[in-house]
Symmetry: C2
Subunit: 196 residues, 2 copies
C-alpha cells in the first residue's frame, strides 16, 4: 500500500516514517510554496534514512492566508494549522492509498480531529494515519534518542525543511524581521541528520 | 526498553505488538481474574507470533464492580472500561518501562483520555503507548489482512482470551445466561491464529 507521509526533516516525521516502513511503501512528501528550496534538506535526510522523496506544491493563497492569520494572531498556531490541513489535502489528492503525518499525542498544533480525519478519508478514498498519535513526549524522545542522529538549535540556524521556513520568509518579506520574531519567539528546531 | 502490552489474543492487540516489536522488548500481558484459563489461548497466540507472554491477576473486587455496573447499565461499555483501566494500572505497577494497549482511533471503549494517560505515566514512572491510536478502522483492517491469520465468529464459540470471557462467565454465574445475552447482544469476536 502506497503511503505519503508529510515530511519536515525533523525528528517527529522521521520517527513516524520508521514506525511505518515495515507496513507501507512509504514516500516522504515535503510541502512547499515554491519560495525557498529548504525542501532540499528534507530530500537529503530522506535519502539518509532510505526513503523515496517527493515535494508537493501548495497554492500561494494558502500561504497568504496563513501569513495574514499569524500576523493578526501574533502567534503561529492557527496559521500553521491551516497550512497543515491544506498539505494533507494536497497529498491525499494524489495517487497515494494512505496519507500520514508526524503529529504526536501531546502536540497542540497541528491537530486533526477525529471528524476531520474521517472527512479526509471519505472525500479522498484514503486512509489517514498518525503513527505517533499514541506516543507522548517522553516516549518519542526516547525512541528518537535510540534511532536518529539529530541537530538542535534556533530556527534561524537550523532551518526546518518544510513550509514553516517559507512562512517565516514571507512574513519577513511582507512585513519585517520584527514580525517574524514577534510571531515565532525563541523557536527551537531539530533537524535529523541520519540513522543512529 | 521493556514494554508490557495488554493482550487479548485478538487482532488489534496482535497488530499493536507487531508495530512495536522493532522498537521495544515487547512482552504480551493478559489480564485475568483467575476464573478461567482463557489466557492459555493468548499464550499460544503469543508463541505463534514470537513474543514473550505473562499474565497479570486482577483483584476480585474489580470483577465484582464491573459485573454490577454492566448489569445496572444493560450494556458492557462502562464495566469493560473500568477493567481496562485496572489492567493498565496493574501492568504499569510492575517492572516495565512502558505499558501499551491495542486501542484504535475509532474505539469508543476502552478509551483513555490524554489526562488519564499523563496521570498513569506520572504516577508509575512509565510511558503509556497506544500504537493504534492514529489508525482508523480501514487502516487496521488492511494491515490485519496483510499480516495476520484470524478466525472470526460469535463470542460463545471464539472465546476472547482476556478478562472479557471471564466477565461473561461471572455474569452467568451470578445471574444467568439471559443476563449475558442482554449485556452482550450479538457479540462477534476475532481470534488471531498466527502470522501470514
Amino acid at each position: 500500500m502506497d503511503l505519503g507521509l508529510l515530511y519536515s526533516g525533523g525528528k517527529d516525521s522521521s520517527l513516524a516514517a520508521l514506525l511505518l516502513e515495515d507496513f507501507y511503501d512509504v514516500t516522504l512528501v515535503t510541502a512547499t510554496f515554491g519560495v525557498l528550496d529548504a525542501h532540499e534538506h528534507a530530500r537529503e535526510t530522506a535519502a539518509e534514512l532510505g526513503f523515496d522523496f517527493e515535494t508537493v506544491e501548495l497554492d500561494d493563497a494558502v500561504a497568504a492566508e496563513a501569513v495574514d492569520r499569524m500576523m493578526a494572531d501574533g502567534y503561529p498556531r492557527n496559521g500553521i494549522q491551516q497550512v497543515h490541513i491544506a498539505a494533507l489535502e494536497a497529498v491525499a489528492g494524489t495517487a497515494f492509498d494512505a496519507v500520514a503525518d508526524g503529529t504526536r499525542r501531546d502536540d497542540r498544533v497541528p491537530s486533526v480531529s477525529r471528524a476531520q480525519a474521517q472527512s479526509l478519508e471519505d472525500r479522498h478514498g484514503v486512509e489517514y494515519i498518525v503513527p505517533l498519535a499514541g506516543f507522548g513526549r517522553g516516549a518519542v524522545d526516547a525512541l528518537v534518542e535510540e534511532t536518529l542522529d539529530v541537530t538542535t538549535g534556533p530556527s534561524e540556524e537550523i532551518p526546518k525543511a518544510d513550509y514553516e521556513t517559507e512562512l517565516r520568509t514571507l512574513l519577513a518579506r511582507e512585513h519585517d524581521e520584527d514580525a517574524v520574531a514577534d510571531v515565532f519567539p525563541d523557536h527551537t528546531q531539530t533537524y535529523v541528520t541520519g540513522l543512529r
